[in-house]
Amino acid sequence: MNGFPKQVLVVAPHRRFVAGFAFCVALVLCALAPAAVAAEDARFEARSAYLEPVDGVMQLNATLELGLSATALEALRDGVPVTLTLESQLRRKRRFLPDASVAELEQRWRLQYHALSDRWLVTHLNTGLQTSWPNQAAALDHLSRPRGIPIIDAPLLRGSATYEASLRATVEVGGMPDSLKLLMFWVQWQRTTDWYTWTVRQ
């Protein structure tokens, strides 16, 4: 009670009722409003991707367009982490049968503002490696250009076969507990790009 502002205690009863009602309405509206992970007018997609053999390993390089909304950026600045999940698949095309899955990989990064050091930390959750960036733009730029992600050893690919790779990214803001996300299932806690698919040239 000591933490309450003094003016709250002298609010008239009918004002309290109105305030309570308004609070309820606001709660409902807030709860029903989707969390703006990405700006509606900004691009949110996988712009390009390719596989290249490096030292006998097919490595993935991609360029993403992660148009985060102002709300998400504001949340980032408040210390709310943003998680990027990159899902990639490599399939061997078959003529009469469904395509055969050759490799599937999921890579996750977390972007978080470190207020004390005023640095933007990007942590590769699969390996635990962490890099820091002096500003948000640099960190986001780093995050949107994943490079050298190993997918499969090149010798494992058949020379005569045709391969198709797919990629999609998911951004989630908030780090909300799963139980809360389950409870407020109608809220858009994350946003996912469409699959970006291309034919792999060996």
Partner: protein, 756 residues
């Protein structure tokens, strides 16, 4: 089969009800436990958002199960209540009102608590994001940064000092000296990088196996501009490192620029403090972002708890209302059963409160009612038995009994009274004397006399009451007495009477028979000597007397002989009347006999028209032909004598078949156009020596009646509507009908004779 089913249900029901009886209690207990658990969880989570997030599924599960259970229970009870209300089951309206009242009493406080809880929730969560808190976090960060900035400045100065020390060294010298310089400056790692991030020298406290962490292009670009670089980097394990970079001064133009990069560790204590501030700030930032959602989930959970409480309150209202109304419903059902006459209804004692007292009183009342009804039934059965006995006695009684109300309405009349008075007893019940008198002439005469007595205030009397109509006369011996007054039952009067006509007639017949026998015996004997003496005197003295005396003697003896002959005829008539009946029954043609007798009277001196109207089919009438001839002769003679002085005398004799008391009879009717019977003699025309004719002996119709009764028939005398007399004789057609009619007459007359 039904009884078996019923007994099966009766034995199965208690077990089933034992389940359903305790099921609501168990469910309510579970529901209350869920509510309590939910409220406890809510109280825990209100202070700790993480705990809320952790316990949220459990909270929701508990609430969901509780709400589901309560919804099932409430739905079941509400459905039953709605059905009862639509069917107008007694007590359903009362229960509905009770449920409504209880529900309102429970729901309103809950809603108030809900509103207050929302307010509290709102203020509580908002208090987390108070301006002062935010500012406090910002100040703490600033303070931490200031503290760390001193360290960072110090580490940068060390790196710049080390860079100056290495400035004059060749690359080999740099490699040689770098490790000692790193140690001297207390750095964790030192790297010397050339152009294009070329690693020139590397020294680390981690040993030779450690990999160098090359600086980024941004760091190199900044140092190339001769601007040192310093940054604070979290190490990921809760520690902090200071990353510094400074160019090696004094490099000649064209010579590859070298940059010394040094990494230093923040002391653990300081790093821990700084990390605490950082994580608190980050946590606060996350909460700021999660604020509306936390509010929403809190409100949602609170709403679920409230819903659970509301449903529990409504179910409690239903449960307690039912508990409250159930005894009243039982009482209503019991009262209805009693109203329908079921006094065996007993209600179970619900409790020992006022309702229990009421139920006990009700059970006592029904018990007493049942006892009273049993006693009443016994009394009524006894009364009915007595009444049936009395009715049987009265019905079998040949004595007429009529009961009158105190206001002289006829209360009841037995069958014998109806038979004597010629009326249906059922018709007279409840009638006044005046109304009943209209039913029948005999009844009217009888009631007139009774009414005179009773209206005169005479309750106890005895009298012989004559009643008559044009054809017959009856004598009734009446006795009246007052009925006792029992309780509220009015007394009234009862009149008992007997038809003593037959008795009197028998007495008269017996007396006249005796007279006739004595006359025949005492008078007839001297007549012959008188007649013989008179004839002897005439023969002896007629010749010896002079003419004048002879004429006197002749007239005197003639008169004596004539009168003796007349007296002989009279005595013979008496003898005929008194003689014992010895019928000689044989079939004969009645019409032929009638024609024969009528022909005798047609041939008489007087010009009387004798007309016959004979129905065919009477050729074999079983009777005493001689007696029937006597009947016809007497009736025709009586008619001829009555027609003296009548202009255009006329006699009609008719025969026909008819039925009397269901038996075939033959009717002989003799009708004349004479003066008819005198009205004052109508009831006595068949009595001996009752006559209106100057020459009649008064025995003709008496003998006819005697002969008719000897045949088992009946005789009636009437006056015609336009004058003249009519005598109707009905004789049994054969022996069988005579036996039936004789039995009937015997039955009818025997009791009276016995009483007489």
């Amino acid at each position: 089969m039904n009884a078996a089913q019923g007994s099966t249900q009766a034995t199965a029901s208690p077990a089933r009800w034992a389940w359903t009886r305790y099921l609501p209690v168990v469910l309510v207990t579970l529901g209350l436990a869920f509510v309590t658990l939910a409220l406890g969880l809510m109280s825990r989570t209100a202070a700790d958002a993480n705990a809320f997030a952790r316990l949220q599924p459990l909270l929701l599960g508990v609430n969901g199960i509780g709400i589901l259970v309560l919804l099932v229970l409430i739905g079941r009870k509400a459905w039953r209540l709605a059905l009862d209300y639509r069917r107008h089951v007694p007590g359903s309206r009362m229960m509905l009102r009770a449920v409504g009242t209880f529900a309102v009493l429970a729901v309103v406080p809950l809603l108030v608590v809900y509103w207050l809880s929302l307010q509290f929730l709102n203020r509580g969560i908002d208090s987390w994001f108070d301006v002062n808190v935010r500012q406090g976090f910002a100040d703490a960060l600033t303070l931490s940064r200031s503290s760390l900035s001193l360290r960072m400045g110090d580490f940068l100065a060390r790196t710049e000092g080390a860079a100056r020390e290495l400035s004059g060294e060749s690359e080999t010298g740099v490699v040689i000296r770098l490790d000692s310089i790193r140690r001297a400056n207390g750095a964790e790692e030192m790297i010397v990088v050339g152009a294009n991030r070329r690693l020139v020298a590397f020294s680390s406290s981690a040993g030779a196996g450690a990999l160098p962490m090359l600086p980024g292009e941004d760091v190199l670009m900044q140092t190339r501009q001769d601007r040192p670089f310093v940054s604070l980097d979290p190490t990921g394990d809760g520690g902090y490192g200071v990353f510094t970079a400074a160019p090696l001064p004094g490099r000649a133009p064209g010579e590859e620029p070298l940059v010394l990069v040094g990494q230093y560790a923040i002391p653990d204590r300081l790093a821990k403090l700084a990390e605490g501030v950082q994580s608190a700030s980050a946590q606060y930032g996350r909460l700021t972002y999660q604020r509306p959602y936390l509010k929403g989930t809190f409100a949602l959970t609170l709403t679920m708890v409230l819903l659970l409480s509301l449903l529990a309150a409504v179910y409690g209202a239903l449960f307690w209302a039912q508990r409250l109304v159930q005894p009243v419903q039982d009482l209503i059902a019991g009262t209805r059963a009693v109203a329908k006459g079921d006094f065996e209804t007993r209600l179970s004692l619900p409790s020992r409160d006022e309702i229990g007292y009421l139920v006990t009183s009700f059970n006592e009342m029904t018990k007493r009612l049942a006892l009273a009804r049993a006693e009443t039934e016994q009394s009524r059965a006894a009364v009915e038995k007595e009444r049936a006995n009395l009715a049987t006695v009265l019905a079998r009684l040949s004595t007429g009994v009529i009961a009158f109300e105190p206001d002289l309405h006829i209360r009841s009349m037995n069958a014998a009274a109806g038979s004597i008075l010629g009326v249906d007893p059922e018709q007279t019940s409840g009638l006044t004397l005046a109304d009943a008198s209209q039913l029948n002439g005999w009844l009217g005469q009888f009631l007139d006399r009774v009414g005179e007595r009773l209206q005169a205030g005479q309750a106890e009397w005895r009298e012989q009451v004559p009643i008559h109509d044009e054809g017959s006369r009856r004598e009734l011996m009446c006795a009246c007495t007052a009925l006792p007054v029992v309780g509220e039952t009015a007394g009234g009067f009862v009149v008992v009477f007997d038809d003593i006509t037959t008795l009197l007639q028998a007495q008269r017949d017996a007396a006249w028979g005796e007279v006739a026998r004595r006359l025949a015996h005492e008078i007839k004997n001297p007549l012959t000597p008188i007649q013989l003496s008179a004839e002897r005197m005439r023969r002896k003295f007629l010749g010896s007397m002079n003419e004048k005396d002879a004429q006197v003697l002749e007239r005197a003896t003639h008169t004596i002989v004539q009168q003796v002959e007349a007296m002989k005829g009279m005595v013979n008539a008496f003898s005929e009347y008194a003689r014992a009946p010895q019928l000689v029954l044989e079939p004969f043609n009645l019409n032929a006999l009638v024609s024969e007798v009528a022909e005798l009277y047609r041939a008489g001196e007087r010009p009387v028209v004798v007309e016959l109207a004979l129905e065919a089919g009477l050729e074999a009438v079983e009777a005493d032909r001689g007696r029937v001839r006597q009947i016809l002769s007497n009736l025709l003679k009586n008619a001829m004598e009555a027609l003296e002085g009548t202009p255009a005398p006329y006699v009609q004799v008719s025969t026909r078949r008819a039925e009397w008391h269901g038996q075939p009879v033959v009717q002989i009717e003799v009708v004349d156009n004479g003066p008819g019977f005198q009205r004052e003699l109508m009831g006595q025309v068949f009595d001996p020596y009752v006559t209106s004719k100057p020459k009649g002996t008064g025995l003709g119709l008496a003998i006819v009646k005697k002969v008719v009764e000897e045949h088992g028939g009946r005789i009636e005398a009437h006056n015609g509507p336009e004058g003249g007399a009519s005598v109707l004789v009905a004789l049994p057609l054969n022996e069988e009908s005579r036996a039936q009619l004789g039995t009937r007459e015997t039955r009818k007359s025997e009791p009276r004779r016995e009483r007489a």
